[in-house]
């Protein structure tokens, strides 16, 4: 005899207990601590902070532990926590030219003021599995920079601007405070401030694919990496009651400035254009992809035809968020049997009618269902 | 906080919810009169029900416009700003909420934001104090939220109020939404309601 399914509450509780158990894994292996994740899986922590849109290394590390290393799940945990935090206002524009640099490279010049600083990068490692690492090999001390004042490191784009070779960054439309898509629903067309915020929170993989597509001709922008820099910057905030900026702390960011396809008209002399990327932590892949997509999305501004996915603002901005995307894709596993029943009813009726018509027309009747 | 400043909600979370539910059901059932059961003693000529609506719905994201009767009182603006953080604006067209203490001097609807065809929600909600609210008599109301028709009348509005409401209905989906208050009582005339003599 049929009995309707009951006991959902107990099933959920049991599933959660099993999840906790699976997270712990083999008890013979020591439990991982968030601070180990924070220190030793730092790039995972960076990604969770960037796409979780909350700069807190310890929280991101804990989220990664809780999510069993599923970074999108960890990003989701951080976002859901972020949304409960009171908002006091927005920081002052950060001065990335004053960055305390750990890495800084330019692809457009062999050498430049401040120099090329290779820093901690995978770029020239040979991708050979390091079996010594499995045993926990001792780590050599890195070389120290020489004594003395750190050199000034002006932006490459500032050097180009000195010659008038590159467009000035267009100012924020006057009379409108900088947008925040976590406080106001995104409306189209969106201005660049909101587009950049969307891209900064966007899924790294999505941006990578979009940026890549522009290189393969789907909205080509002729990009040169003017500069990538990674290091620490100061964040400042002006409290309403003080009226002047106070430092809140220092954060690590990666910035990418792409120098892209030049523009000019009969009236204006040709100039290079810009694509911009900035992300929390160290992620050149994301910052570079963001810069490519930012430039592609400026198509309207430069009077370029919008023909490729990466130039299509509604398409890119509506599908870039991995918390939204994973939720909607995965929601298909929720029960849909009521709607499916409606479809079943219709398809059976249509097949019946089709068979009747075929029979009436003198054809061999299809096998009955 | 100045010593003269009147108190806000005694229980901010639950009072706001109770007041909102009251306003929501008033808006959902035009012409029904409800009582806001949250005691308030607002400054000046602000009606308790109007004050309750302000506390429940306004904050730093909602520019508020006050009519002469309210803005001329020294404490109304201070009270609103302290309890809600809402910016009080001089330009009525910029307001998300308009508070009108003198219903007879209700400004023309065209002085307020009435939304656009693309975004008809970007329109003002006017909270208007009247002399009396009567359910079951007076005007004939039809439209969404009303089974068949209902009778309702508010006293203390401009003589041409029905013409104004007809004009507002003609703008649909654009238009103004009106919350009428009298003491602790409240009723609503959203833009969908057809009001006839």
């Amino acid at each position: 005899m049929y009995v309707a399914v009951k006991g959902g509450e107990r099933a959920i509780a049991n599933a959660h207990a099993l999840l906790d158990h699976s997270r712990r894994g083999d008890h013979a292996v020591p439990e991982i601590a968030p601070k180990q994740i924070r220190e030793q899986l730092a790039l995972a922590v960076d990604r969770v902070m960037a796409e979780g849109s909350l700069y807190d290394r310890d929280l991101a590390a804990l989220a990664i532990k809780q999510a069993r290393g599923d970074l999108i799940e960890a990003i989701f945990l951080v976002r859901a926590f972020r949304t409960t935090l009171p908002r006091f206002g927005h920081g002052e524009p950060a001065d990335t030219a004053a960055m305390q640099i750990r890495r800084r490279i330019s692809a457009t010049y062999k050498d430049l003021p401040g120099g090329q600083v290779l820093g901690p990068t995978f770029d020239y490692t040979h991708r050979l599995i390091d079996f010594a690492l499995a045993a926990g090999a001792p780590v050599a001390e890195p070389a120290e920079a020489g004594e003395g004042e750190p050199a000034d490191t002006p932006h490459v784009t500032a050097l180009l601007d000195g010659e008038g070779l590159i467009e000035r960054n267009p100012p924020q439309p006057s009379g409108r405070p900088v947008g925040d898509l976590t406080r106001e629903p995104l409306a189209f067309p969106a201005d660049r401030d909101l587009r950049l915020q969307n891209l900064a929170r966007a899924d790294e993989g999505f941006l990578l694919a979009m940026g890549y597509s522009t290189q393969r001709g789907y909205g080509r922008t002729h990009p040169f990496v003017g500069e990538i820099r990674f290091g620490e910057i100061e964040v400042e905030f002006v409290p309403e009651d003080l009226g002047f900026a106070v430092p809140l702390g220092r954060i690590q960011v990666t910035e990418c400035e792409m120098v892209t396809q030049f523009k000019g008209t009969a009236e204006t002399s040709p100039q290079f254009t810009r694509g911009y990327g900035l992300v929390f932590g160290q992620s050149e892949r994301k910052a570079m992809s963001m810069a490519l997509v930012d430039r592609a999305l400026r198509a309207r501004e430069f009077g370029e035809d919008v023909v490729a996915p990466a130039q299509d603002e509604e398409f890119v901005l509506s599908h870039s968020d991995n918390v939204q995307a994973t939720g909607f894709v995965e929601h298909l596993k929720l029960p849909h049997y009521v709607d499916f029943q409606a479809e079943l009813g219709l398809i059976r009726q249509l097949r019946r009618e089709h068979a009747d018509r075929a029979a009436a027309a003198g054809f061999t009747r299809e096998a009955a269902e | 906080m100045s010593a003269a400043l009147a108190a806000g909600f005694a229980s901010p979370v639950h009072d706001a919810q109770a007041v909102f539910r009251c306003v929501m059901m008033a808006m959902a059932r035009p012409g029904t009169v409800r009582r806001i059961a949250v005691p308030l003693d607002p400054p000046g000529c602000m009606q308790p029900a109007a004050a309750a609506a302000a506390l429940a719905l306004c904050d730093f994201e909602t520019p508020v416009w006050l009519d002469e009767a309210l803005s001329s009182h020294p404490h109304v603006r201070e009270w609103l700003r302290f309890h809600t953080g809402a910016p009080v604006v001089a330009a009525s067209r910029a307001a998300a909420f308009a508070f009108v203490a003198d219903g007879r001097a209700l400004p023309a609807f065209s002085t307020f934001a009435l939304g656009t065809l693309d975004y008809p929600d970007r329109s003002v909600t006017a909270v208007v104090a009247v002399d009396a609210l009567h359910e079951g008599m007076g005007w004939r109301l039809t439209g969404p939220g009303i089974p068949g028709e209902t009778r309702f009348i508010a006293e203390g509005l401009p003589a041409d109020m029905l013409d104004r409401l007809a004009g507002n209905r003609g703008l649909f989906p654009r238009g103004i939404d009106i919350v009428l208050v009298c003491g602790d009582r409240i009723a609503a005339l959203p833009r969908t309601t057809i009001v006839e003599a």
Binding site: F188 | V13, Q17, M25, A56, T125, P144, P147
Partner: protein
């Protein structure tokens, strides 16, 4: 400040500023029936697609005096319904029920209860894609203009193409409706069987789409008309048999596969309705004989 039920979080989880923002959107949604009001949807502690829009609406409306019912596919006991009900029991400490008649707020995914709703009840729908024109025109900028100009010809063309191809309108759920003679509205993915229940319902119907950041509403006693053609009038889904457990006719049924030899039974999708009828003594073909029957 009242003591929160879940330590560290506000009553009903959302902070007060967020609730005010959502409450303002709800008021405009009621004033413009069927129009989708954009709102700054928050990230909720449950995934997008799991009802974050409905949860935000419920959280903004609910008070300590409310009695909440949550259903998914018509059932109170499906895992997501259980999960959402537990969320509000934990964050708002409200009473919950499975009885449609006892609830003041009913949050639903994919069904409208069979028992007629009453004046004062609030039905909150979880909505995945609020835009009825989205699958005909993916661009928000375009569909917004269509709504502004009341230009709904595209939807009629789509339905008519169905008729040309299949002899019927091939939309069986999320069947588009016109609200109060103006806005074209997606009723959420309820089967079209439920569409007539929306028309002139005494309950207030609120719709929340979290990921798409839209709220819309149908006030009580409002005309809700399913699109159709004179020669192809709107028809609801029909079932050949009554419910096998309670014998009810004219209700929506789930098909339960009993074996791999074609064995099927059809039972009420609305579990509360079915249980109530069985308690009243109604029986279907496959129900167990009544124990201790006085007859």
């Amino acid at each position: 400040m009242n003591a929160p039920t879940l330590t560290g979080y506000n009553f009903a989880y959302l902070d007060e500023q967020t609730k005010r923002m959502i409450r303002r959107a709800i008021l405009k949604a009621i004033a413009i029936p069927g129009y989708q009001v954009p709102f700054a949807s928050r990230e909720m502690p449950m995934p997008y697609g799991w009802g974050t829009g409905g949860v935000q609406v419920t959280a903004s409306v609910i008070g300590p005096q409310d009695v909440l019912k949550v259903i998914d596919q018509g059932s109170d006991d499906t895992t997501n319904a259980v999960s959402i009900r537990a969320f509000f029991a934990r964050t708002a400490g409200v009473a919950t029920t499975t009885a449609t008649a006892d609830a003041t707020i009913i949050q639903t995914r994919h069904r409208i209860p069979e028992a007629p709703l009453t004046d004062g009840q609030i039905l909150v729908y979880q909505v995945p894609i609020p835009e009825p024109l989205r699958f005909l025109e993916p661009r928000e900028t375009e569909t917004r203009t269509m709504h502004a100009l009341e230009e709904y010809g595209l939807m009629h063309v789509k339905l008519y193409e169905d008729i040309a191809r299949h002899g019927h309108i091939a939309t069986t759920y999320a069947y588009p409706v016109r609200v109060a003679g103006r806005y074209l509205m997606d009723p959420s993915p309820t089967p079209k069987f439920d569409n007539p229940k929306m028309h002139m319902s005494p309950a207030l119907q609120l719709f929340g789409a979290g990921r798409e950041k839209r709220i819309y509403a149908v006030p009580p006693y409002t005309r809700v008309v399913s699109l159709d053609f004179e020669d192809h009038p709107f028809e609801v889904n029909r079932f050949d048999k009554p419910c096998a457990l309670c014998g009810a006719h004219g209700v929506y049924l789930d098909e339960v596969v009993l074996d791999d030899r074609g064995g099927r039974m059809f039972v009420c999708s609305d579990t509360d309705h079915c249980g109530t009828r069985q308690e009243q003594g109604h029986r279907g073909d496959l129900s167990t004989p009544r124990e201790g029957s006085a007859a």
